[in-house]
Every structure is written in structure tokens, then in C-alpha cells.
Symmetry: C2
Subunit: 377 residues, 2 copies
């Protein structure tokens, strides 16, 4: 395969030039704010992309599953933060990665779990490097930065071995509910203040807190300052998507991935064009529709990435069918059966996860490489 016209569809296409520009831009921005970048690999799930994302950085990465941790450890990454709250049943697997010399950091927000982590570490003859998750407004996991649980967990982790307190971590997931860049700045300020406050409280106890970790793509892009934060963990910024465009975090031309699909049917009576990318290829993520009704399951452009008619989008999906519609008359003659289109994703993290590989392109057309993705658990 040397052209996207030869790919079997649906296929996930990654523009290498746009990816490089996105990585460079985030690295430069965080450098300016004096903060290390620990890229979250939950979006890309790909060793080649991780290698590009850590260039000029300390080299640590973030993952969302232990399967990713094992995959990236196999790819030579030795400094990994598993940024989902640990449950005790997963500790044996963490210990097994620790024995392979992986500095795999885990996350707790519960004193009972912290006690089990320490006890298991002692029993297994290992030390689990552990971060305390802090809730700075997202109300997912995490302790109150002002509450007593923070100090209780810190004392457990700083106790009799088996665990080591490495610092604090937060994720401002509520940045995704923002309506303006001003609101994102305000969430970023809250995120910074909360996680830095938690670190200061640990410091007052005489506890070392080397890691003060924050970040989501919106707050990494718009944070006015990051004093006291040691690292940021954005992930989506590598690809961006229509949701991030709606938030004001990227421009449309910064979207690095798209789903290539083939026109398989014309329904002039019902004003739709059918494509071979449906619920499984595009995912069912319609979160970006809050910015425009003309997004649906993704915006449709031609194979070169150019607009066909304004507002052309995938309005409905079945398992393997997409229904392409627009307010304007549909351009049936410009999209004959067999022709190719691209769908820009509403939410890149979820759409990319529907595929097992990237077809890497240059100049939008030439396929220069194939990179595989890790998936599952």
C-alpha cells in the first residue's frame, strides 16, 4: 500500500506532519511554563508515538490500563504512571512489572487500599511507588486537598515499607464541561491550586512529595501558570478532535487522525449517502455535538481532507453503516459509490480505540508506515 486509495476501509489514518506539530507545540508550551511533560498514552496507545512524544522530556509516560503498562514496558519505557485508582486485585500484576525494573507508579485515594498496598508490598518483598489522587473539582476519584484523608493515606504510605509516597496527582476532567477559554483557565487555576495545596500539606508533615502531577489537554493548553506543578499529563493533544476544536483548544487543521471510509450506497429519496464506517469504526461518541448539530458521529470531508459541502456529517450509524447527511442538497455526483471520504472524529481517544493500527500518511495521501496500537485489558 502506498496510497490511501489502496487501503481496505474503514481504516484509521494518521497524518505524521500534524502529529509532529502537535507534539512540538505542547512540548514548547510546557517548557515555557517550566513543567515536565509526562504524555498520557491512553489516546495513542502506540510505542512509536510515545517515543516521539517524550523527545526532549524526562521520558516518563502515563497509561490508563495495566495492559498498556506492560506493552510500553516491553517497548523500553521504564517510568510509567498508571493513572487510574488501583484495586488490590491488580497488585500482583503491578509487582510483576516492578520485578522487570519498571518504575510503575500507582494511584490511591482510600486509606484502606493504601494499607493493603503497603501490606502486599511487604509480603511480596517489593515497594510500590504510590501517588495520592486529589480531587480538584472533577469529582471522579481523589481525596479533598483540604481533608483529613490526604494526611491519613500519606502516613500509611510513609509507614512500615511496602509502599513509598511519591507525591500527588489530579485530573481536571471537568475542563471538558467548560463553555469558554476563560472557563478553562479558571479550571486550570483550580487544578493547580488544589494539587499544589495537597503537596504543601504533605510538606508540612515533613513528608517528601517529589511529584505534583496535573493535567488534561484543555488545562495544559490554557493554564495561565503552573507554579508548584512538576509535570502535566495531557494525551488527547497528540491528535486533537472536533470536541477540542469546539472547546477552543485546537484548530480544525490540528486534527491528526481521521477514519477513511468508502461510499457504499446512495439514497436520494431519504437524502443520505451510506458509507462503510458505522458504530464500530467511528465509535458512538457524540459528545462534540454540544458544539454543533452538524457533527453527529463525525464531520465528513473528501479523501484529500477538503470540504465537499458545508455541514456534511455522519448523522446516524448502524454497526457497519454510516448515514451521511447535510442540510444542503447532497453532492451525490461528487461522492459516487466506491469513492473515498474521511471522517474527522468527535472524540479521538474513543474513535482511535476502535482500530488496531494507524496508517501513517504524509501529504494526506501517501502511506509511509503502519503503526500498531495496544488494546484491551
Amino acid at each position: 500500500v502506498s496510497s490511501i486509495q489502496d487501503l481496505r476501509t474503514p481504516a484509521l489514518v494518521l497524518d505524521r506532519g500534524v502529529l509532529a506539530r502537535n507534539l512540538e507545540s505542547m512540548a514548547r508550551r510546557l517548557q515555557g511554563l517550566g513543567v515536565a511533560l509526562r504524555p498520557h498514552m491512553k489516546t495513542a496507545k502506540c510505542a512509536e508515538i510515545a517515543a516521539l512524544a517524550v523527545r526532549g522530556q524526562p521520558g516518563g509516560i502515563t497509561v490508563s490500563t495495566l495492559k498498556e503498562a506492560a506493552y510500553f514496558a516491553g517497548g523500553g519505557f521504564r517510568d510509567i504512571t498508571y493513572a487510574v485508582g488501583i484495586s488490590p486485585d491488580k497488585l500482583d500484576e503491578v509487582a510483576s512489572l516492578r520485578r522487570q525494573d519498571v518504575e510503575l507508579r500507582i494511584l490511591v485515594d482510600d486509606a484502606g487500599v493504601a494499607r493493603e498496598v503497603a501490606a502486599r508490598g511487604r509480603r511480596l518483598g517489593t515497594t510500590f511507588p504510590t501517588l495520592i489522587e486529589v480531587d480538584t473539582g472533577a469529582h471522579r476519584g481523589g481525596v479533598d486537598p483540604e481533608g483529613p484523608e490526604l494526611l491519613e493515606i500519606a502516613r500509611v504510605l510513609g509507614g512500615k515499607g511496602g509502599a513509598r509516597l511519591d507525591g500527588v496527582l489530579t485530573h481536571a476532567g471537568h475542563a471538558y464541561a467548560c463553555r469558554s477559554v476563560e472557563e478553562i483557565r479558571s479550571v486550570a487555576t483550580e487544578e493547580r491550586a488544589g494539587v499544589v495545596r495537597a503537596a504543601e500539606r504533605l510538606g508540612c508533615l515533613g513528608l517528601d512529595c517529589p511529584t505534583v502531577s496535573a493535567g488534561s489537554t484543555p488545562t495544559a493548553v490554557h493554564a495561565p501558570a503552573l507554579d508548584g506543578v512538576t509535570e502535566m499529563r495531557p494525551g488527547n493533544y497528540m491528535f486533537f478532535d472536533l470536541f477540542q476544536e469546539g472547546l477552543g483548544t485546537c484548530r480544525r487543521e490540528d486534527i491528526a487522525i481521521s477514519v477513511l471510509a468508502t461510499v457504499i450506497g446512495h439514497c436520494p429519496r431519504h437524502r443520505r449517502i451510506l458509507i462503510d464506517a458505522g458504530a464500530l469504526a467511528l465509535s458512538l461518541d457524540t459528545s462534540a455535538c454540544r458544539f454543533s448539530e452538524d457533527i453527529g458521529y463525525g464531520v465528513v470531508v473528501d479523501a484529500s481532507g477538503a470540504e465537499v459541502v458545508p455541514g456534511l456529517h455522519v448523522a446516524r450509524v448502524h454497526q457497519e453503516h454510516g448515514f451521511v447527511e447535510a442540510r444542503e442538497p447532497l453532492p451525490f455526483h461528487r461522492l459516487p459509490i466506491g469513492s473515498r471520504v474521511r471522517i474527522l472524529p468527535g472524540h479521538a481517544c474513543i474513535t482511535a480505540a476502535m482500530f488496531d493500527r494507524y496508517h501513517v500518511t504524509e501529504d494526506g495521501e501517501r502511506v509511509v508506515d503502519t503503526w500498531s496500537r495496544v488494546s484491551g485489558w
Copy 2:
């Protein structure tokens, strides 16, 4: 692994006894109506399940992608209908499966495509067995059973070789929009009437029409009669789900799959329990919510399948987090961190596709086998 308590989560669990009961019940029902069963493997995507589903049947199956066709051909299936409209770029792959002695039937609803199919068949020295797709109300693909396109396509396929007219096919996708069993019966009657009418019109032209194919799970379960139809293609009935329960097509105890997850956090302040199954494990299919607000991304039961509190469900998801909520006070003490829960899927076809294997259980607890799934394109 011998117990579901030892599985790494999230994991897809399949109850073998419920599966067997569902297969048996559909086979018996269609036998009573005098119609063959050509099970749609788009839901299960698994050779072991396909082998069980064709027992006592002619042996043909239905698939939704050419990847499935190649996978099942590799598993010994030789009679396969690819029930998504063909585009000419896929014909070389179809021809390659034809050369492996697979009777791979394709679908057209456009005279131009039919001409390309026949021309390509002649050029490649093969004959493509082809069905004409008929629209009986779903308005996805398909020609009007009363319109001129049906006869035009039939003439092209019956022409100078390269293609062979095998019959007509329809899918009453609009059965999923029904509000009552009465409505499903009426859609099933429309589906039967439309596809049989199309076959009769071809018969009047003196054309042979051996296949008259219909079916969705709701219409297969509720069709009052299927005279003139030669085969039905349900797929979801193997597993069923909360959507089918809402439609009145199954009972809750007929749901054969669930996602096993682990409790990873308690948030009493925000009245939620966090689990390690999120958007990627459960999928974002919330279509079943039209039957109840207490479904969300799936209904939560305990590891044995029993209700914990009424209305416990996954109300929100992030990529790897599920937020379990209920109207009633949450049973934190009964679901400690580290304990296991099961999530019944809203839409089994989409949720199952998030996993690469089934953990096959008996008695809900004992894991007796692991069956892999085909995925991607």
C-alpha cells in the same frame, strides 16, 4: 483461571447455558415457521458460537465485514452472506475468498454497481453470487420492492456472466424503533410482504430467486408468519440485551453476556461508586435508555448476577472509569473496593465488540473455556 473471581477486569463473560437456551429457542421457533436460520455472526464474531448456532440448520451464516468472512472461511464455513452493500473496491477480496471455494454472497442495490460486479467477475474469471437488497421500511440500503430498479438490477445480474442472481434480501432495522410487540409484528409483516413481493416480481420475469432472506432479532422472534421467506438472519438473539428486553423480545434472564468489573473507588460525597469499566469496556451505546433512565451504560448486578439494589446502573463513563449510581442510597458496604460486579449490556453487539475474547462460564461462576472473537476490518 477457574473462577470469575480470578479474571483480570474488565472482562467479557458469556454464560454457556443461557447461550444454548437462546440458540435452541430461535431454532425451534423458525423450524415451526418452516424457515431456515442463517445466523448473523456480527454480534458473536466467534467460530465456536457459529458452530453451535448452525446446528440442525443448513450451515450458512451471515457476516457484517469481509474480515469476518475470511475468519469464518478459515474456520470451515463455506456458505456466507456478506449482508452490507458491496462497493467495487472490495470485489478483489471477495474473489479471493471465492477462489478458496467459499460461496460468498454479496449484496447490491444499484444498477451501476451490479454492472461493475458482473464486469469484474468476467474479468477475474469468477462468478459473484449476488442478492438484491430490498428496502422494506428501514430506509438504509435497498431498492423499492415495487420500483423499476429491482428489475433493472436483476437483468444486469442475469446477463452476460460474471455475476449470478441468487435472490433478494431485506433487513427490518426499523423494528428497533417499535414501542410494542404489536408494532414489531406489524413491521415483521411488512418485511415479509416486501421481500416476498420482490421475489414474485423477479419470478414474473422468469428469473430464478432461490433466496428470499429477511430478519432481525425482533422480527424473527415476533413474526406471525413467514410464508415465502426462505431464511431469517437474526444475530443479537444469541446474547440478547437490555434493549431487547425493553422491546419485549427477551426476558432479563435470557441475557447471556455481561462485563465483569472491579470496584476501584467510593465517593460517598458525590453518591457514586467507581468501577474499572468505562467507555472502552462498556461502549457508549445508551440506546436502551429509551426504556428506562436507570439503564445508562448498563445495569449493575453483583458477581453472581443478583440484584444489589434496584436501579443500580452505570450513569456516566470516562475512558476507563464507570460511575455507578442509583436513586436509592448506594450499598457501599456490599460493594467494597476490590469487589466484583457485572454490568448487563444495553446493546450486546456493540459492547461485545469492545473485547477480543469471551470467558465462558457455567453456573455463573466457573470459567470453563475462553473463546476468541474476530474484530476490525
